[in-house]
Symmetry: C2
């Protein structure tokens, strides 16, 4: 495609193409919504010691995986059938890249759920939970904002997400130090604090993935790859 | 492609296209070679307490990042210009996905290098180094084999890499338990053992990325997505 027949019905074809792109976006955002819920539930399951909720998250991860494969397949079909170029191609390629990030966020939720089960079985250990709640809220905000930036193709919002990543890293470092202190104070804390440490690490990774999504949004909108570039350079690209 | 004009000059056009695909493969494999060296050097820097080598790894990560962006750009140009379909499209899309894995392996090397510097400054702590060496060798083998499977489009070798992943996970769990014991025995071990724990975690992630690359090789060769499928299903796909 396009062959002669398509030229005659050019507008129609182009509308169908647009519909396909819209459907891809919608499907991706639906997966994004599910993954957001997974992380939100995982933090809840941990803090509330809710093993039942944690089991539910682990089961639902299969759905996340399925959605990743579906989005990827749809994206590849669009490339094969529609041979998009320029902005359309950037959209499809970005979706392929971002869907891998979403799937990994889903994996982090599953990991947190695993520790939620472990910790709820060992009894309450509120050490580090304030930090989990705090960093959890922060990275969930970033994830939400990055998906929102994608939905509205808003590169300025994407830039704001990128800027948050440094703050999350600092919060994570601080929380890790706090947990290390608990561990040193009493050896009986070690095992449980380690679990909380892995949870914090998983949340910090969620922030990284949100940041990757944001970088892809800027790439889609501005056509420039701002990965691995200094923040001032990303600002310049978005400001144009 | 192919339209009438291409049919006339079919061979020529197709040869140039093939050259471009080959160049993409070569560039990707070159990045793969660099990333392999980075991980190898990172483990050496840690075990030998070689802070100088560790600094070198951190500096070289910029080159890895640059290569990721170059491969991605080349892949997108091929899609836009050549509008590949079927197997060719799967190759290009897989390269886009795998290059993200390689870049993350590079990040893990950088992370290990950071801990190598930290640990060398704190003085020798051979606890857990046997495990680092062992798991390091294992995942480096997986990474090498996955890249080799890509170079030769060998789906059976890719399957073997996928099967290794479970063993690495078990080795990692065992090593983590050993370190936990050291930490519980003596609180003075905690900080250093934590660093080694992060290194083991980074290596385990390298195994995951090698596995992702292997899954993409099977996708390229067989046209079926074996991510998130049971091993028996992957075996069936490869055995066809």
């Amino acid at each position: 495609m396009p062959d002669k027949k398509d030229d005659v019905y050019g507008d129609h074809i182009s509308n169908k193409f647009n519909d396909e792109l819209m459907a891809l976006k919608t499907r991706f955002l639906k997966m994004g919504g599910l993954v957001e819920t997974q992380i939100d539930s995982a933090v809840k399951a941990l803090v509330d010691g809710n093993g039942y909720l944690a089991e539910e998250i682990r089961a639902k991860d299969k759905l996340v995986d399925r959605m990743e494969m579906d989005v990827d397949e749809e994206a590849m079909l669009i490339i094969a059938r529609r041979q998009p170029t320029a902005r359309d191609l950037r959209l499809v390629i970005s979706v392929i890249r971002m869907v891998a990030d979403l799937e990994r966020v889903g994996d982090e939720a599953k990991k947190i759920a695993k520790f939620a089960i472990k910790l709820s079985e060992e009894g309450q250990s509120p050490q580090g939970y304030v930090e989990v709640r705090h960093i959890g809220a922060h990275v969930m905000g970033m994830l939400h904002d990055s998906l929102d930036a994608f939905a509205r193709l808003d590169s300025e919002q994407a830039l704001r997400v990128m800027k948050e990543d440094k703050r999350v890293d600092e919060e994570y470092q601080g929380a890790a130090r706090t947990l290390l202190t608990f561990m040193m104070e009493d050896a009986r804390n070690i095992s449980r604090c380690m679990s909380v440490m892995w949870v914090l690490r998983a949340l910090e990774r969620v922030g990284d993935h949100a940041c990757n999504i944001a970088e892809n949004v800027i790439f889609m909108v501005k056509g420039e790859d701002v990965r691995h570039t200094p923040m001032e350079e990303a600002e310049r690209v978005v400001g144009r």
